[in-house]
């Protein structure tokens, strides 16, 4: 019997560093929103309904450039396409019998961070764990954007720098333990670091948005690994 209450509280705890990081990052978004002519409430609604830093940033810059609705739709699709991949992976992490209602609710806040901790949940994912994390992370995100519009960036750069690295620290906490157990994952993590570093410096990719670069690298590396090192049932069970 799954203890939803306990998992929800666990989610709240793991969501705290996410909320802090989001709060700091969202300030900068708020400033971009203000420049695009969004009011504080509009910017907050944009954040609460989009939950995507790069995607929202793209929207704000397009709107301030006077772009049309179609352009905004296409750009949102491109910058956020990696969430499609993440949702595919999550669909296999949820118990098969999960209701449509819970699937649609989990879908609402598939962000890099929420996805990361949901995948790290031991065994099959209890949606209530994700809800717990979302319950603290989303207010941080929305409030940060709101305040970014109202007061600009009042956080000292030193604090923003420190808080935003917390999010990457979380990613490390998610990818390193499986990398310790499984040498294929370990090799993949190192390879991903290397190729991502290379891609950031490869002139041919300079015009490509970071979102698209992430997808290209993820698909190539993960597909190569899937073909070379297919995962058997026993390994998946061991990893979870």
């Amino acid at each position: 019997m799954t203890d939803h209450g306990k998992n929800f509280r666990r989610g709240v705890v793991d969501g705290c560093p996410i909320a802090l990081g989001y709060f700091a990052v969202a300030f900068t978004l708020g400033i971009a929103a203000k420049n695009a002519g969004f009011s504080a409430v509009q910017a907050m609604v944009e954040s609460l309904t989009n939950n995507a830093s790069a995607g929202e940033y793209a929207v704000f810059s397009l709107v301030s450039a006077g772009a049309g609705y179609i352009e905004v739709a296409v750009m949102t699709l491109v910058t956020n396409a990696r969430y499609l991949l993440m949702s595919c992976a999550l669909s296999q992490k949820l118990p098969a019998e999960t209701s449509l209602f819970h699937r649609l609710l989990v879908a609402f806040d598939v962000t890099d961070e929420i996805f990361g901790i949901s995948i790290a949940f031991p065994g099959r994912l209890d949606p209530f764990y994700t809800y717990g994390a979302v319950a603290v992370a989303i207010p941080g995100w929305g409030l940060g954007t709101f305040l970014g519009v109202v007061v600009g960036n009042v956080l000292p750069p030193r604090l923003v720098s420190a808080l935003s690295v917390g999010l990457y620290g979380m990613f490390l906490a998610i990818i390193v333990p499986p990398a310790k157990k499984d040498k294929v994952v370990r090799g993949l993590v190192l390879l991903s670091f290397l190729l991502s570093f290379g891609a950031a410096r490869w002139p041919l990719l300079w015009g490509v948005s970071p979102g698209v670069k992430t997808i290209l690298l993820t698909v190539c590396i993960a597909l190569g690994a899937a073909l070379l090192f297919p995962v058997g049932e026993e390994k998946e069970a061991q990893a979870s």
């Binding site: 509009q42 879908a107 030193r158 990457y168 620290g169 499986p178 993949l188």
Partner: protein
């Protein structure tokens, strides 16, 4: 002047559809080994791709970011919790930038 609320509606709709479509449509366990393996590797690869070099670009001093990466990876290897690893990275950057800048 275009309507800002319409922009919000368009971007929110697209963002949600991207996330909801796979979760709503893929209801069963995928049996194909290659596809299963691909989805098994996706989270680790994509999070790694997003972590580096972004972690050294997010800080004011790249060295502070690099230190956070090393300390974070070490603590995670030792099995410390998500919360602790995240907080440790923040403290490392804060401390390093106090000294470096």
């Amino acid at each position: 002047m275009k309507n800002i609320w319409l922009y919000i509606l368009v971007s929110a709709g697209v963002s949600y559809l991207i996330r909801a479509t796979p979760l709503a449509l893929i209801r069963r366990e995928i049996k194909n080994t290659t596809l299963r393996s691909f989805l098994y590797y996706v989270p680790y690869v994509t999070l790694a791709v997003m972590t580096f070099p972004a972690i050294i670009e997010a800080t004011q001093s790249p060295l502070a970011g690099l230190l956070a990466l090393l300390v974070g990876a070490f603590l995670a290897w030792k099995g410390y919790s998500l919360f602790l690893v995240a907080v440790a990275c923040c403290l490392v950057v804060f401390g390093a930038e106090l000294l470096l800048l």
